[in-house]
């Protein structure tokens, strides 16, 4: 017992410099991350600003009853899951295809130009993207309404007032912005394949399709699975800017653009409905927690090095 205690103190003293180093980031993490974790209790409270987070009276599951009694809860869940599933599928198919094609280009210069330009949208903020989208979709001056659609005899589409277009527009914009980045990741993985494999198949008369089918795609498969599974873990979280700023917060588009993140933000800052905001936020955190743990278990089975712990 005494020996254990002594070794505890010896450890403490021998690593005091390292502990001191950790002090700043650890205190920061306690405040910035752990305090809000405890703060989820306000979803079970009748929150008011004067009594604050800890002294406001408890209200049990009342906030959740209200939240799930509303149609909004169903709509934001459907939108969040629906778009994210679509994004995950597109973010696997499009970049893998692009990477496989790009890998066949022999001219280094052209390859570089394609890669550089496709990565460009990834560097733009969503505010910037909203400007670019507006330049295309502005009802009175946008290129689509003024230049493209008149060729087909279509005039005056009110893009920012018609919900039916956005389930297509949002996945296109999301892919446009992110595909270049993911393509670079897959391309880097493809560069790691030993060329002798390809040559072996080629000398047996195997064409490009056979090479892709039996070498490139099987080689990329674990990476595709891991990136997709990681995305599934985040399926309850959305890219706030894409759903908030790109549709210019147009109210008539809410049925197809409102996701959990935008709902929580609006309830918190625009309608000041702390009860609804905290209930929806807790719902998001709790489901997200389960999903991240579950997907982490899956990843550990595929590739332990990729697992969080």
């Amino acid at each position: 017992m005494a020996g254990k205690k002594r070794s505890f103190f010896r450890n403490l003293i021998s690593s005091r410099e390292l502990l001191l180093m950790l002090a700043i980031p650890v205190v920061y993490t306690l405040v910035n991350s752990y305090f809000p974790m405890v703060g989820v209790i306000i979803a079970f409270k009748d929150y008011n600003f004067t009594q604050g987070m800890f002294r406001s009276p408890w209200s049990g599951f009342k906030n959740f009853h209200y939240l799930f009694a509303m149609q909004d809860a169903w709509i934001i869940t459907r939108n969040t899951l629906g778009y994210n599933l679509l994004f995950i599928a597109l973010n696997a198919i499009v970049p893998v295809t692009l990477a496989l094609l790009l890998n066949e280009i022999r001219g280094r210069m052209l390859k570089k130009i394609y890669q550089t330009s496709m990565l460009f949208p990834y560097f733009l903020s969503m505010v910037m993207v909203s400007y670019l989208v507006y330049a295309l979709l502005s009802p009175d001056t946008g290129v689509i309404n003024k230049e493209v659609l008149p060729l087909f005899g279509i005039h005056g589409v009110r893009w920012y007032n018609e919900p039916k277009y956005w389930p297509f527009l949002l996945p296109i914009i999301n892919t446009w912005k992110n595909a270049g980045y993911t393509t670079v990741i897959y391309l880097a993985a493809l560069a790691g394949i030993n060329p002798e494999y390809y040559e072996a198949i080629a000398s047996d008369g195997g064409g490009k399709w056979v090479q892709m089918r039996y070498i490139s795609i099987p080689f990329l498969q674990p990476l595709i699975i891991i990136l997709s599974v990681l995305a599934v873990g985040r399926i309850f979280n959305s890219d706030f800017g894409l759903f908030y700023q790109v549709p210019l917060q147009s109210g008539s588009l809410f049925p197809v653009t409102n996701v959990i993140d935008t709902y929580v933000y609006r309830a918190l800052t625009q309608t000041n409905d702390i009860a609804m905001a905290s209930a929806a936020g807790f719902y998001q955190s709790a489901v997200g927690f389960v999903l991240v743990l579950a997907t982490n278990l899956v990843i550990r089975r595929i590739n332990p090095e990729r697992a969080l712990l």
Binding site: T29, Q115, V127, Y131, E147, I185, L308
Partner: protein, 298 residues
């Protein structure tokens, strides 16, 4: 049948691939070129024929109009530069301070602190408690600190950094420095950090981009004019458009010249996008290198 020497695709397929990528390239670049084009076009032409890639009547009108607002724009730039600069430097230091002890195999509490960090990756309190913490407890509304603080430590980067250190710094190096009587902090910043430069560069690049492009924290916490960053200023400019879209009747009643004009909006986008375009060639080179080092292995 003659087999192609270098195992390349057929000329027809090769041409088709190039067509695909030329289209992709155009799709990624053209919206930006339209914005630039419109910003140099005469306002009346834009109102009549809409946005065009190549200005029919060249004009610097929009930029002259923006020049009147030079104080606010300059200030917003300054805010963005300060937030990005301070944020990136401090977050790199924080990341190093957390990653270094985790990398030290003789540190008895590494498992505890790894789990401590891991928990923040799987569970977060969400927006509401975070917002209440920053506004009610830390009283950071309208403070620049509220734009920097939330992103100072990304657990994922700590893991990337630790993985990099484990893979590239031999234990004997740290041990010999310790035997020479060096303090841990000296070992980290004088010996380990210079060797871990690629990891610092990659993480620094991602962090810079993140701070420069962020506007969400401004949306949450900034309501005065002084601390408006360039991204947030662009968002506010855009909001005038939304106002017109949602109230079409107002748009006609209000004097058109009083509203920000179409070309000025696009000029605003050009002014905001400028640094990204200038830094892009440099950025993307290291970015791709970083991705291939960090993301694949980490």
């Amino acid at each position: 049948m003659k087999r192609r020497a270098l195992n390349t695709v057929s000329p027809g397929a090769g041409a088709a691939i190039h067509v695909v990528f030329i289209l992709c390239t155009l799709a990624c670049v053209i919206p930006f070129l339209i914005v630039v084009g419109v910003s140099f076009t005469d306002e009346r032409i834009v109102m009549r024929v809409g946005y065009r890639l190549i200005p029919r009547v060249f004009s610097l009108q929009a930029y002259k109009f923006l020049a009147l607002d030079i104080q606010q724009i300059g200030r917003s730039y300054l805010i963005s530069i300060i937030v990005t600069g301070v944020g990136t430097v401090v977050s790199l230091i924080m990341t190093a301070l957390y990653a270094y002890p985790l990398f030290r195999k003789d540190f008895p509490y590494r498992r505890f602190f790894a789990v401590f960090l891991f928990i923040t990756m799987v569970f977060n309190g969400g927006l509401v408690p975070f917002y209440i913490l920053y506004t009610q407890y830390l009283h950071l509304k309208n403070s620049l600190i509220a734009l920097i603080l939330p992103y100072l430590l990304n657990p994922f980067y700590v893991i990337v950094m630790r993985t990099f250190l484990t893979g590239s710094i031999p234990d004997s190096l740290v041990e010999s420095a310790k035997l020479d009587g060096a303090r841990e902090i000296t070992v980290l910043f004088r010996i380990v950090a210079p060797l871990a430069l690629p990891a610092f560069a990659t993480i620094g690049l991602f962090t810079t981009l993140m701070y420069w492009n962020d506007w969400f924290m401004s949306l949450l916490f900034i309501s005065n004019r002084q601390n408006v960053s360039i991204q947030y200023y662009m968002l506010k400019t855009m909001q005038n458009i939304q106002f017109m879209l949602q109230n079409p009747s107002v748009a006609f009643k209000v004097n058109r010249s009083a509203m920000p004009s179409e070309t000025v909006r696009m000029a605003m986008a050009v002014v905001g996008i400028g640094p990204i375009v200038v830094a892009y060639p440099f950025f993307q080179k290291y970015f791709i290198q970083g991705l291939t080092v960090g993301a694949i292995k980490g």
